[in-house]
Symmetry: C5
Subunit: 354 residues, 5 copies
């Protein structure tokens, strides 16, 4: 099954900016959550409609609207109307094939990013799309389905841990992105550890299982790179952008995030190089083995085939084979056999094949 690109043919011929969900529907009904807080108060509830959301937003607090489920186009359209998001952005939100990108709109900063996760019992990494929109007085997140990558942030809000409750919407946006990137680095490190472990098996184990694993890591690393590299790039461009909704004082956090993304891409490249090297080494080892196998065969065959021929000669039934009648014929035969066999052994020893 294609993991890297989903079926866009549904969207073929669509008006640009018209809303179509590309990718499979992953939930039954979209869920809209609101978390609103400042240092003193915290409100966390699931809301039914955007009217409700609009009423509850408070400019002097942090407002985080989190939506699970992308398939209800009506909801997405309302969202667009409510938060004045252009239709091209809404379209990108729905196109789950979209590469990570950053858009610096007039009334918002939008980030399209990927949540990477492995499914239970599988090494395969799957990506889900997340859109984060930072407006003047809200943070909006939109996910394909319920996932727990943001739960750590929610916990911090609830427990009022760290600075989060004292800071604004932009810090929340940072904290959410940071949770995402943290997740990448754990994934990469996970694969990295396994790639480094292969190193130890490389000179012991020689079967296609190892090759299969190496290939799998290579593919997963490709997959991660696809999510991380564009993010690293837009983070750099974000740092250069003047008029974002990030406050000056929080820029240091973004810089830190950018550094972490650089670190992630470099780790991905390094592990990718390591898998390539490992494959080369595997092939060299394979040649070594093959050579050893062939030498064994050659020594056995080259010694015993000529000897068998000699034995064959004296197994012939010609009426007149003088040697057969010699008194020491059989003894001489053995002497010849031993000299020949020994000679060949010495020959192969000299060639260092033994």
């Amino acid at each position: 099954m294609a993991r890297f690109l989903k079926d866009r043919s549904k969207a073929k011929g669509m008006v640009p900016g018209s809303l179509v969900l590309i990718g499979r529907q992953k939930m039954d009904k979209p869920i809209v959550q609101l978390i609103r807080y400042n240092e003193a108060d915290l409100l966390e509830e699931t809301v039914g409609s955007f009217d409700e959301v609009r009423e509850k937003l408070q400019a002097e607090q942090v407002n985080w609207i989190n939506i699970y489920g992308l398939h209800d186009l009506e909801t997405i359209k309302q969202l667009g109307v409510e938060f004045k998001l252009p239709s091209l952005l809404l379209e990108d939100m729905l196109n789950t094939d979209q590469s990570p990108k950053y858009e610096n709109g007039e009334s918002y900063d939008a980030f399209i990013m990927k949540i990477l996760h492995t499914e239970e019992g599988s090494k395969r990494i799957h990506a889900e799309q997340i859109t984060l929109v930072l407006g003047e007085n809200y943070v909006l997140t939109l996910q394909e389905r319920k996932a727990d990558v943001f739960e750590v942030v929610r916990e911090r809000i609830r427990k009022s841990k760290g600075r989060i409750r004292a800071r604004g919407n932009d810090y929340l946006a940072y904290a959410l992105t940071d949770a995402l990137v943290d997740n990448y680095s754990i994934l990469i490190e996970n694969i990295g550890r396994q790639v480094e472990d292969i190193e130890e098996r490389l000179f012991k184990q020689m079967d296609s299982k190892l090759v299969e694993e190496i290939y799998q890591f290579k593919t997963e690393l490709n997959y991660i790179r696809k999510a991380v590299r564009p993010m690293r790039e837009f983070m750099t461009s974000l740092l250069r952008t003047e008029d974002t909704f990030f406050q000056k004082k929080n820029i240091a956090y973004l810089k830190d995030l950018s550094d972490l993304l650089v670190q992630c891409t470099e780790a991905v490249e390094m592990y990718n190089n390591m898998t390539s090297d490992q494959l080369n080494i595997y092939n060299s080892n394979m040649s070594n083995r093959m050579n050893e196998v062939m030498k064994t065969l050659t020594i056995f065959a080259s010694i015993f085939i000529p000897l068998t021929f000699i034995a064959g000669i004296y197994g012939m039934n010609f009426e007149y084979i003088p040697e057969l009648k010699f008194k020491y014929g059989y003894l001489v035969f053995w002497i010849i056999i031993l000299i020949l066999g020994g000679g060949l052994l010495i020959y192969f020893k000299r060639k260092k094949w033994l």
Copy 2:
């Protein structure tokens, strides 16, 4: 047959700027179509001459002149005169080998692009050239032959779907290019899906068919890249160009298109890397197999060739072979055979060849 470059020798020695069709003629007679519309009206008809076109153009409407067939040089010359296009541009239109390029003329923006399509029942991608000229009050498209890639745009115009009827010539130019790029991304995704499918066969199937398929995908990806990469580049340069016929308000659409082209080239690179990895893995697997084959041969030959030699000895007809007369000669022979054979088996087992 050469797909990547067509026969330029016809054009050898030609004056630069003189008109010669490079590439095969693909239609009998050129067809000139006019689609003229605004929000209220829509005119769609095939016209006979450029005089007719000139009469029917209306500055306050969108005028799309679409021409199929490049071979009638007279038509192209008239076109040049009618729309004041320089002869070098006309020459580029006719050179179907031309790399995609963008030209920012004084009275027009010209785009030379490629339509990619696979022929029925074949995986081979073929490119046809399309020239799009955006003038102040017209959009001109010129194709080698009739193709349906723009039909989706025509449908939208007819059905008045989306914003298209309310917008200008520049939006039409964008919509047409978007249809083209959409088509690329569907093609790439198509190949991508097949490349990903190879992954699953990689550890099961071992024949030259697989190699042939991988090579084919590699070649097709090369081919697509040749069309897409220059387009991505000129799109970036278009976004930096000040005085184009694209209105400010439509720049967001071009930016979106540019993002899509980036996404396409990245997907092409990724799939290309994947095919390279797959070929490497295939080779490693092949070595594994070969090794297994050789081990089987070596074990069989190394055990039975010496044993055959021993049997050969006692098949000899020397008059005096004492062992043959021994009462338990045959029994001892079998004991020796079993010890020797068993010993070799253990030896190979220790070497982990079994």
Copy 3:
């Protein structure tokens, strides 16, 4: 013989700027031709001395001085004096190993370029150096020996085809360079067609001839790149240079030439990648073949070597081999042989080696 670099040792220890011909002498006597024209007149003759040239130059006409043969240092020195060319440029003209370069002098624009041609019956490409100097009222070309790459331009001048007779020295310089680059693109396309043809033989033909051809194309492409890439680079830098002898109105021609050179280098890269891919595929195919060969050997040997051993046993002459006396001994032997052989066949079939 070294094609890529010629023997510079002659020039060792020479004063920089001193004139030495590096490369072999390719003609007996240098020939100096003058073609002078405007829209009305055309003069074409071989002149004997530079004094004659000086007399015949007319500022209000286009003056093309073409020289064949580099070895007569006296001629080159006079040339330097006559056209006020610095000695370092003269030295570069004579060093036929010189990479293509562009020099923006005060009273001239100088281009050192390569003519590429294949010799009759050979696929090998050879490069000859051509220097083109564009002054205020002359175009000077200097070639190693007579070649016909400029004949097409001469024809156009003679037949007054196209714009050439109506335009200035700079247009002539452009037209000559264009003829050269056209020649490159024909050469590349030629090789390209052959490289694409290899594709079809890749899965059928398996011998070192194919490898040799692939290698040859790779080498020729290397060779072409060496001529084309620096040219593409200096063309870009020429387009950025302000004070050249090219008129503003002819810049579009240079831009077109620059595009063609980009196209050429990209084609060279693409074909180079294709040859690399083809070599990889060849190797994979080779492994496939080898594997098939080895499987055939292994199956034959692994089945018949043990069987031969069994036959060998009952060919022994031990006095007491009970089986030999059994009534159905021979029958049982055949049954055993068939079971064993069949068993091995099934074993190999299960392994998918059959």
Copy 4:
């Protein structure tokens, strides 16, 4: 065990800027050392608390505070308070996976760098993190555990060797970094010497030990690059930064350091290329060997297997085999054998397999 990335999962869900030690604890208790000097005086002592440090700092002298051991979070927090270091920097100090980076703070210049060392009796390189903070009147170094890489600087201070005692905090920061980089270049040179030594064994020794060594060097070089490359980059950016705590007059030293880092990265790249080349050569040699082995086998088998067949024929017990009765049967047999064997020998000689 994973060397390249350490277990970050502990830190998962942590507030950004909250302090967690990533990596293993390497010491029992942190040690804080103070070295304070000017040209006249030198104070060197282990201090117990930061209060003590604060008292002893003297603005008109160089103050070097060196801390071993990262695990006592309380100490790190105090450090942050004492020297007004932002929490994100403290977090980076504790994250021993952190890529080398430079931070240009308002009241400090911070460098996160790596100490590379090989453990006794092992070729494996291990990295430990070192943070160097240069403030207006202090240099702060923070290491995971006691290491002697800075001992050379301490010696120079003690012995008042060179310029060090006459210069400021910035020169000390330079001297410490220089000691670190010197250490890199010794390590690289060490590996380089071994890589060059492999060259000599490459055409003599053919076993997996050699492959293993090459792979190991490749991995170590990867590891070094990971430490050196980011340092080279931040050194370049440091040289461009205006408002650092480095005095103008000491910039030449930084430039020298930057040159040394460039030299280090280039050496790493070169050795890395050399190991790749060596692996390729090893594989070619392996093929050569294999070919030789196979030729030996083929010659022996192809000559003696047919001969054995012929001998087998005349060992058959058919009642009527006329040849067996011929007077010169046996002689003719030998003649045939010799002609056949000789013929095959000549055949193989002609093929150049002998």
Copy 5:
């Protein structure tokens, strides 16, 4: 022995800027030569002390001080004092591992460069360091030992050839560097010629000698690149530097030199690519050969092993083997053998193995 990096451990722990000779001592006693000239006069002598040098320097003439031998640290220190060279530069002069670099000092332009030479009867290239310092009224060159690369310049000065006697110190510095670079291009061309020659042996000769040669060229090219590439880079940066001691009128010479260095690095890259291609081709050829060998073995073995088995059957001594008694048994045996053998031959022919 390590050629690429020399033993720096001596220098470990040294104060930066302290003088230590890295590399082996190559001469007994340093020699100081002075060549002083203008158009009229020429003085050439070996001087004993720097006091003598100081006395003899004449501002209105060109003063070239050439020093052979680096080991006498006292001399180097005096040199530093005499010409006001900073200690970091002196240190670089002594570190013979130093990458080529250019330093634009206040009172001098310093170039650290490499002399490349092959030792008699060896293909190995060795590098020696040369430092060239251009001051306002002197040129200082410092070499590890006596070498003749500058002899050509000395000859030109003596014989008053070319412009050299009429020009200043900067022209001398250029002429010396030019001699050095000329030497590189001769070396590269030398290797290049040999690399091109390998091409012709590539399809004829198949042994590890060829691989060894290819590897050697690859290594030598690596080595040359290490000397040439940094030089090309600093030459570019020199051309951009404003306040050097090179006069405006001599810039054209530097530009020419820079072009030559570009040409050298490109030739190195091209030859390096060629050796890589050759190695790939060698491997493909090796596979071809192996395949041929294996096919020969397989055909012989697959035909004669089954036949031998059949002969073995009728060599058995079962009491009852009916076929043995048949009148035409032996004839039938031969018919079967011929059919079987012929059948296998046809089978292999169909498979195109014959």
